[in-house]
Symmetry: D2
Subunit: 227 residues, 4 copies
């Protein structure tokens, strides 16, 4: 069994989980199997080995941390048209609107997974944002068609994070809702991401694997690339 | 007793109440006292007569309709600074933002009355908009200081309507939160109004005089000009 | 020649044009042909007579006022998905957002006419809103699919007004971008309209028939129902 | 002369300037004076030494990079009231609105410096956002009073970055527009920051020390804490 975890990944896993003290990998356990800085492999069947490795999970039982590798990330694409209201007097889209667009991308991603966010809220779960970052490369303008591209970056039973890109495409260009590959199509305008925690209606943290196991199973399946 | 009601006012009252069939003034009753087109007077004490007539109520028992006369309207003033986000690529404020500003004006008005809107919602009441109108005279621009001016136009136990104006003032100008007079200060940019109905959390109509009588009493008091 | 104009229409035309004193139909001229309250007919070729009358124009030379009749209005339909950002704490769409949606509808209408609004602005023309009204029948909610329905109501060389409706449709329902008929499909949520004036970059009024005659011709053609 | 620069600071300076290749400190020059990880001191007069060190500048001639130290940062405070429109159906402020609030804070900061942002734009300069980050600690709610706290973090002639915090205060609490101290008052809700570049109307980079030297001088003065 070749479950290898890099130091960087352990660090990331701990940071991601730290608030809730779930991930307590004893340092001894980490010593062997050898920790390398190479991408690591989960124990895979021979059939799976032919496919790109889609996800890396923390070997600690019960942690549930999973990171989606770049090679196999599925980008969910959703085109929108820039609204007049979204421009500002610089003649470009006001920078805060990309945050709204990221949200649209996430909504469409979970719809594609098979469980619309309205239904998630109906089950009593909320997914507030705890962290946001955004790099502005080039401005979108009124009436542009932009593709909101969203992918799951990492998750555990208590947290979930997305990467998002906004890319300009041309009138008439059409793309499938799911895109496998390093980079989604179009001209990069903005890239960023958001982190979230699962909470109940009283804003108390809620473990997704217990409160909505169907969705947790969907996340695991899609992060392994076999939806 | 000189309770005179104009035809125009009866028409307005009926329209305002019609959805809920509360105002059924028999035509006979309207015939006397004589219906004129002059402003009408409620039965007033001699002390009150010296003050401008502030409100006209429907003489029909239980209707509760009350219109605030122009002469005695109290305008509630609230200054705000125009945000960059509120501009659009025309270089002026996007026209939809005045609707948000009207809402701010109403929030400040009910706070001044003595019952913040957060408290009203905590009591289980909502006040959704059912009608909106807006005339755009001159555009507001980034960093302008505008005065949101709001007054109660008319109300009944089930409905409430406001008139709103947005007026530009200059840096350093200060005005009291309550303004009595025909026209609030500053340069008129936009004028309009909104109508609302009182509903409960399930969006069912709710009679304010029963669900929150303190607030209904406040409205009556202020519309008579003696807050 | 049976160019009949109703009194109501003359009133409307005058109100619409009054700011710019273009429509000065002498009362004498209005007396004959007889002014009735029936819908009136422009002088039509026999071929046109078989089609529904799409527009009523002011007979005054140079006025250019044209109203689109209800029978033959073309509604331009554009579906959008309600965004999370557009909701408020009442759990419904904040009422100001319909104003943004109306704008989207107008953008899509002029694109359908054949001249995208970006191009109009590139030609140096702006179309600010001078009047807005909005009736709220039923609230839209997060993730609803709503159809923004827009039609040209009336126009002259200096003004243009639209009627707008927001209607809820169900997932999977599809409609053509142009809809001929009294009522567009779906459940009515909000209806209203906006009036606009053509201005140049300095916000001075600009006669569309002179500054951008191609667009003016398009408006005339479409309002007669033969696009 | 005790101009000591830490390795971390050199790294930051290079990253901040790298796009425009202004900061080319030869490694030799950095070797002496000794690079430590302690805060460093500019060559200061004895009078200045009694004051907290407010800014650290890159010793490279012409680089102009300056970082404001935590000890002496001036926070500019600006209270606002949360609008109904800013809430979403979670019952809290939609996370994208903090981005708009950060912008308000920056507007008020430059106004306090003595050059309103409207005037900066009138001079032909724009300051678009190139980077944004935001950590959400606790949600703001409708009608809360929040203090937008903004401070200059670092700048060079071509770039400028701010740190921003949103803090909840109570009705009636009042604070001066300028706050010196580690932490501004109130309960921390959100913290983050934005980076910007100076560009002209054509979105070409513009050196502030040449295009608007008065403002550049203001920035230098305030970052040394002696406004």
């Amino acid at each position: 069994m070749n479950s290898i975890m890099t130091k960087a990944m352990v660090r990331r896993c701990r940071r991601f989980c730290s608030n809730l003290r779930q991930c307590r990998i004893p340092n001894k356990k980490l010593a062997s199997p050898p920790i390398t800085d190479e991408p690591f492999l989960l124990a895979l069947s021979s059939k799976q080995k032919e496919q790109p490795v889609a996800a890396m999970g923390c070997p600690n039982e019960g942690c549930g941390y999973m990171a989606v590798t770049d090679q196999a990330a599925v980008w969910y694409l959703h085109p929108i048209r820039v609204r007049y209201q979204e421009t500002d007097q610089m003649g470009i889209v006001f920078h805060g609107n990309y945050v709204t667009w990221f949200e649209i991308g996430r909504t469409e991603l979970v719809r594609q997974l098979g469980m619309p966010y309205v239904q998630i809220e109906r089950e009593g779960l909320l997914l507030p944002v705890v962290d946001l970052e955004c790099k502005y490369v080039s401005p979108a303008r009124y009436d542009d068609i932009v593709l909101i591209c969203t992918t799951i970056e990492q998750f555990s039973p208590v947290r979930l994070s997305f990467r998002s890109e906004v890319r300009r495409i041309r009138q008439g260009e059409e793309y499938p809702a799911e895109w496998r590959g390093q980079r989604p199509p179009g001209e990069l305008l903005v890239q960023g991401g958001t982190s979230h925690v699962w909470v109940n209606k009283e804003f108390r943290p809620s473990r997704l694997d217990k409160s909505l196991p169907e969705l947790y199973a969907l996340l695991k399946r899609v992060s392994k690339g076999n939806i």
